[in-house]
Amino acid sequence: MARGQGAALDRKKLMADPIMVTTIVVLITFLTLFILYPLAILLVDSFVGDGSFGLSIFKRIFAMPSFTRAITNTLKVGFVVGILSSLIGLLFAYVEAYVRLNKFAGGLFKVVSMLPVVSPPFVLSLSMIMLFGKAGIITRFLLGIYDNSVYGYWGIVIVQTLTFFPVCYMMLKGLLKNIDPSLEEAARDMGASRWKVFTSVTLPLMLPGLGNAFLVTFIESIADFANPMIIGGSYDTLATTIYLQITGAYDKAGAAAMAVVLLCITLAMFAVQKYYLEAKTAATLTGKASRARMLIEDKSVKIPLTILCSLGALFVIMMYICVPIGACFPTWGYKFFPLTGKWFSQVFSKYHGLKAFKDSFVLSLIASPITALLSMIISYLVVKRKFKAKGFIEAVSMLAMAVPGTVLGVGYIRGFSGGIFHTGFLQGIYGTGLILIIVFVVRSLPTGTRSGISALRQIDKSIEESAYDMGADSFKVFMTVTLPLIKDSFLSGLVTAFVRSITAISAIILLVTPSYLLITVQINEFAEKGAFSLACAFATILIIITYSAVLLMNLFIKRFGTSKNMKEE
């Protein structure tokens, strides 16, 4: 059978649409240049870094005990964090989906799921040190323990678990809500106890989803840079080792090879998660719940579960609250009262706070509309159009999800400091604000694309087809139909991109030059120096900014977003 003519006609129709073709070409160039190329150059550098092609650099780095230790450290942390986060996430999700919660507990759950979104990813390390460290409020001043060390393996594990479990909770909650209650009712009806129903029906259905949550957290944990940096102490993970290799040992080829190793680990995990588990999850949980679930009212189940989760949630909230309070202590570790605002004023008077916030704010503000628009265009192309390069665009934008920030940072250093392929071409962007903006965009693109794709999948294909059929070209269809219909998703993509950019650290810490002061880098620096009050002051202001951004978005969506009754369609 010859499908030649159909394909040729499809191509001709595409070519008749210059805006579409230009968009695709620009997209492909962008993705190739800023995602594929930096990764490719890492491979090139690590194989031919010292003039000859071969494994010599890999041999060298694998001979370093610090590097091999970092690999085992990273995997150990990732594994434990993955398991703990998915279990705690499952507990929270189960309680929310199955137990009738009172208003207070329900509110706690909401706050817990919200906090990691609006806060920089490493504030928990700060509060961990302040609460449980050597001079910690709880350890030293409440319990009188003077030699408690939070630095190291357990410090990272606890902090990362507390940071990442809300993500698992949100993922698993969605899945649990999709389980048809009549399955469980059928099991109950046949005489299974509630526990038996959980172990024989609910849990097996959730297994792929749990695996998925585990791997997502695993990847996040491996890629995390700031927490191990602040609370790791001498316990180095791959991300921090690579950073030190480049900033401390100036061994760029070595760092590139290390980055390749880290990338390989995350890519493998990502491949399993994406192609094996996601498919399985979808296969076991296809059905929509036919009707609402009968919530558990039984006090012997309800009370202990509610208390357990509420305590956990309160603990997490306390950790976050510790940050603004910590910023108000006069002298950390010695004098807690009276609370003072001096650190906040010092942020601005002594430590160029205004510039830091301005730089971070402006760069993120520029990056976020670009990200939001790009991700909506990519999702539109992926979901609604068919053309040859579509697979490439989808794959590369998803690939960016699996690339740890540190790897990307090293790739940009190697790829752009001497221009493209060290030829000097495009060298000009290195060290400028532009490259920071590009990093912001690339780092938040996958999340935006993912939410865009799921929003677009909900829209009946024929709505756009009808506009197309009425005589609108692709550009018109996108502007008058697609974009208005996914306005909510676009707006939240805008804010997510902003929040992610302003709280990002792992890639940009490698790329930022003294001409730009970024808040997250400042926080990291002060935390490294032990100036926790200043770090907290910076972090507090940052949280206020991100939280207001989210609040503003919610207001905006409520006011101008897609009207409610339209969605009920």
């Binding site: 059978m1 159909g6 006609l9 709505i463 009425m470 005589g471 609108a472 339209m566």
Partner: protein
């Protein structure tokens, strides 16, 4: 509408798809030739997967044919994108733009064509009147009932005055009663406007009620094209006979010709039927017998035994066994007729010209 009416011609059109599970390629539409006359209402009818929607979408331009050429009037349109084709489609899901009100939905195509504002106003209102939606122009589409939404979709397609109107199972989301009234509506409007219409459906009564011509499709092929009467009374094969209306199939061997009548031996008894064309002696033929074309009697015809007898109100439903063949019958107006009970032996009687020999 002072436009020249245009027909649609499909020449050797094929479309190949890939089975997502097995990866095997197959023909969704195979080597199809069609000519749809200007101003006529033609229905593509067939079971799901027969290629009818694919054919329609190729005419609209959403799919590109792998073989062959499509003409609108005399112009080949293979290379035109949907927005450049002079066709307008009414979708199964209505596909109204949910962020626009009724007026803006209908005006959408005109705005794209840069029609002056007051002309848009005038044309939209005229079309809304035609589809009986006056006074609704300010409503959002989700405030309309299914039937009203369908009228908006129809108005939106009509207002741009396309050469061809395409319908993709437009009534399948409506309830049964509304479906019947909407289809008369569609036929009325089509005749009023005089536009060429191609209509896809799997509902045979819809096809019968609407069409000048019906095209029956099966597994990517055109099985038969003809007026509703031709297709009902003279189906070309068992598939068509079975798909349109109910059909019983009796197998019989030709014994002899008796004038215009062919005498077949069916289940051991002789049975004269009207023959069209030349039939060969001793060959087995299939006779298509419609349920309403036969009746039960005490003598004459073929011997049979009643296995089901069921009162349906306007008719009595019988299943009878003629030898080993099950025949379903609908005896209309049963009030004053003798009702045969299950187990009774009787005769199956039909006129020789009320059946069709395949």
């Amino acid at each position: 509408m002072e436009k020249v009416k245009k027909g649609v011609r499909l020449e050797h059109i094929s479309k190949i798809y890939q089975d997502p599970k097995t990866g095997k390629e197959f023909y969704a539409v195979k080597d199809t030739d069609l000519y749809i006359e200007p101003g006529s209402f033609v229905t593509l009818l067939g079971p799901s997967g027969c290629g009818k929607t694919t054919t329609l979408r190729m005419i609209a331009g959403f799919e590109s044919p792998d073989e062959g050429e499509i003409y609108l009037g005399d112009e080949p349109i293979n290379e035109l994108t949907p927005n450049k084709r002079d066709t307008a489609m009414v979708f199964q899901s209505y596909a109204l733009l949910p962020h626009y009100n009724v007026f803006d939905n209908v005006a959408y195509g005109l705005k794209l064509r840069k029609v002056p504002k007051d002309e848009i106003q005038e044309r939209v209102m005229k079309i809304l009147k035609l589809v009986e939606l006056e006074g609704m122009e300010g409503r959002m589409t989700n405030q309309l009932s299914g039937g009203q939404q369908q009228r908006v979709a129809l108005a939106r397609a009509l207002v741009i005055e396309p050469s061809v109107l395409l319908f993709d199972e437009p009534l399948s989301n409506l309830d049964a009663k509304l479906r019947v009234s909407m289809r008369t509506e569609i036929r009325r409007i089509q005749q009023e406007v005089g536009i060429t219409a191609i209509y896809v459906t799997h509902d045979q009564s819809e096809a019968m009620a609407l069409s000048d011509k019906i095209i029956i499709m099966d597994k990517g092929y055109v099985a038969q094209m003809g007026t509703p009467q031709e297709i009902y009374y003279h189906p070309v094969n068992e598939f068509v006979a079975d798909f349109i209306g109910e059909a019983n199939f009796l197998k019989g061997t030709l014994k002899r010709m008796d004038g215009d009548l062919a005498v077949l031996e069916v289940e051991g008894s002789e049975c004269p039927v009207a023959a069209e064309g030349e039939l060969e002696k001793d060959k087995v033929y299939t006779v298509v017998l419609r349920p309403e074309a036969a009746t039960l009697a005490d003598e004459g015809g073929l011997p049979c035994r009643v296995v089901l007898s069921c009162f349906m109100g306007s008719y009595q439903n019988y299943h009878v066994m003629v030898g080993n063949t099950l025949v379903k019958l609908a005896e209309h107006n049963p009030k004053n007729k003798r009702i045969y009970e299950v187990g009774e032996e009787c005769r199956l009687v039909f006129a020789p010209d009320s059946v069709h020999v395949l």
